[in-house]
């Protein structure tokens, strides 16, 4: 399940709902991303997230399908907020449930790694010097490259130079 929304979400309510999915669930891996007050040594007062409505939902949906194809998962949840957020606000939640913890962990990390390089979101930071667009980091592409590439037709083709095949384990 994926959700793109301006509003905040309740971590407890979301996870409890995922776990209510059935007693075959052995583990839930969750990652929650928050707005930090400092980024690359800049004091951040707020963050404005713009996205591409329509494509965002499609990409997140593809990521969920791709994760389900790679691991035996029961539930997948991706929630990504947009709009203006301040430090400590929740930005994103990704979660996966599985009978086995390795699948839940791997899927959760795969989702956040790929989300950062494929989901059409762009961040602006508000600092004392005004607003600046956040520039994509090489390390995020590296993080996604930990995983074997997402094939065209799987979660869609990729406009970047194709990443090296780098299975994680």
């Amino acid at each position: 399940m994926i959700r793109v929304q301006r509003e905040d979400f309740s971590v407890g309510a979301e996870i409890d709902r995922l776990c209510a999915g059935g007693s075959a669930v052995g583990g839930v891996a969750v990652f929650i991303g928050l707005v930090r007050d400092v980024n690359d040594d800049r004091a951040v007062q707020a963050m404005i997230l713009e996205h591409y409505p329509g494509m965002t939902e499609r990409e997140l949906d593809r990521l969920e399908q791709e994760a389900r194809r790679r691991w035996p998962l029961q539930e997948v949840l991706i929630i990504h907020r947009f709009g203006r957020l301040v430090p400590s606000d929740r930005i994103v939640l990704v979660a996966a449930t599985s009978a086995h913890r390795d699948a839940a962990f791997d899927a959760c990390r795969f989702l956040i790694d790929w989300l950062k390089t494929r989901a059409p979101f762009w961040k602006q930071e508000e600092t004392g010097q005004g607003r600046q667009w956040v520039v994509a980091r090489e390390s995020d592409a590296d993080a996604a490259a930990r995983w074997s590439p997402i094939a065209p037709g799987g979660a869609g083709a990729d406009s970047r130079p194709s990443v090296a095949q780098a299975p994680r384990r």
């Binding site: 991303g33 713009e50 994103v92 979101f121 667009w133 994509a136």
Partner: protein, 86 residues
């Protein structure tokens, strides 16, 4: 053809979207970019350095060699920066 600009490219282009009708020989993203550049103006500036431009056709990430045709939705944007900063 429906063209969209996002984030810093939207600011550089000075517009969020526009309808264009390139000639039929503009058959892939590469040719479309060349055609948009030839028009000049702020959208041309937004597309000046393709190292910082990513493209989606009909809401799918594509390469510069991807075909385009009338009716397509073509979006230009910088590399994405969603998720956390961490």
């Amino acid at each position: 053809m429906h063209i969209l600009y996002f984030a810093s490219l939207r600011e550089k282009a000075g517009l969020a979207s526009e309808e264009v009708a390139p000639p039929a020989e503009v058959a892939d993203v590469d040719a479309l970019v060349a055609w948009l550049r030839d028009r000049g103006g702020k959208p041309a500036e937004a597309l000046a350095d393709l190292r910082f431009v990513r493209v989606a056709v009909n809401q799918e990430h594509v390469s510069l060699r991807h075909p385009v045709r009338a009716g397509d939705e073509v979006a230009f944007f910088p590399p994405v920066t969603g998720g956390t900063n961490g």
